[in-house]
């Protein structure tokens, strides 16, 4: 009778302890953990092995696991933020390079206006600048897409 009451109280307390897990983790594994805890306690009681020490050990082990889950979650959040920040930098740098190249091409075209012969031949300057503009555009688009994906990615608990 006393063992039953202790088991019930321990199970209720364990369910409360599980609330300290990150929400996603708790929603996914909370029920299974409660069942596993209850099954283990029942087996120990059937085998006539002491319950108190086992319950204490499980509580301590679960507290450590809760701390570990929170630490993992924070680390992933930081990594995701770093990735997003890096991709943002790449995107804006590529846009800046592209804009500078276009401005440079327009300036060269403006300066070469009306000139003839070698002075008017701007293809050698404009062609690489155009290529760089295209590359910058592609890099900016890729970085923007990857940034969106990184922001959408679900952070696992």
């Amino acid at each position: 009778m006393a063992a039953d009451s202790f088991l019930q109280r321990s199970r209720a307390l364990y369910a409360r302890l599980l609330r300290l897990y990150p929400t996603q983790f708790r929603e996914r594994f909370g029920e299974g953990m409660e069942q596993t805890f209850a099954d283990s306690c029942r087996r120990r009681r059937t085998e006539g092995v002491g319950l108190f020490g086992f319950v204490l050990w499980v509580f301590a082990e679960t507290i450590v696991a809760i701390l570990r889950e929170h630490a993992t979650r924070s680390r992933r959040q930081v990594m995701r933020d770093d990735t997003v920040r890096f991709l943002k930098t790449v995107k804006y740098s590529a846009i800046a390079v592209g804009v500078l190249m276009v401005a440079g091409i327009l300036t060269v075209m403006f300066l070469a206006r009306g000139k003839t012969g070698d002075d008017g031949d701007i293809a050698g300057v404009v062609a690489p600048a155009l290529l760089l503009t295209c590359v910058s555009g592609v890099v900016a688009v890729v970085a923007a897409v990857r940034q969106k994906r990184a922001q959408r990615r679900v952070v696992h608990p």
Binding site: G32, M33, Q35, F37, D39, S40, V58, A65, H156
Partner: protein, 119 residues
Amino acid sequence: VVKNVQTPLTPAVLHILLALAREERHGYGIMKQVESDSRGKVRMGPGTLYGSLGRMLEAGLIHESEKRVDPELDDERRIYYGISALGRTTLAAELERYSDVLAVAGRSSRARSAFAHGS
């Protein structure tokens, strides 16, 4: 050469893969099997077990099966876990790594004893 496999595995992950290699099991079933496989030397609490299961699911080493009742326990429905193809490959790679380590250890031990007898 096995590709896309990350070894060495943590002891908890290795034991869980071993427990699931034979059949699908629920959380408590895995716990019991690990204890029995290790002859009581490895004791895994629910915190370590489910933390590892979460990471293994994420890595694609195991999969969740539908909820069902364990006929040996009560009438509560439980989620069963099974090993995936990647899990089997990973387990095989890890066991191969262990056997290589044992072979090296065996050779060193023989070399040591030969040296001891010789001197």
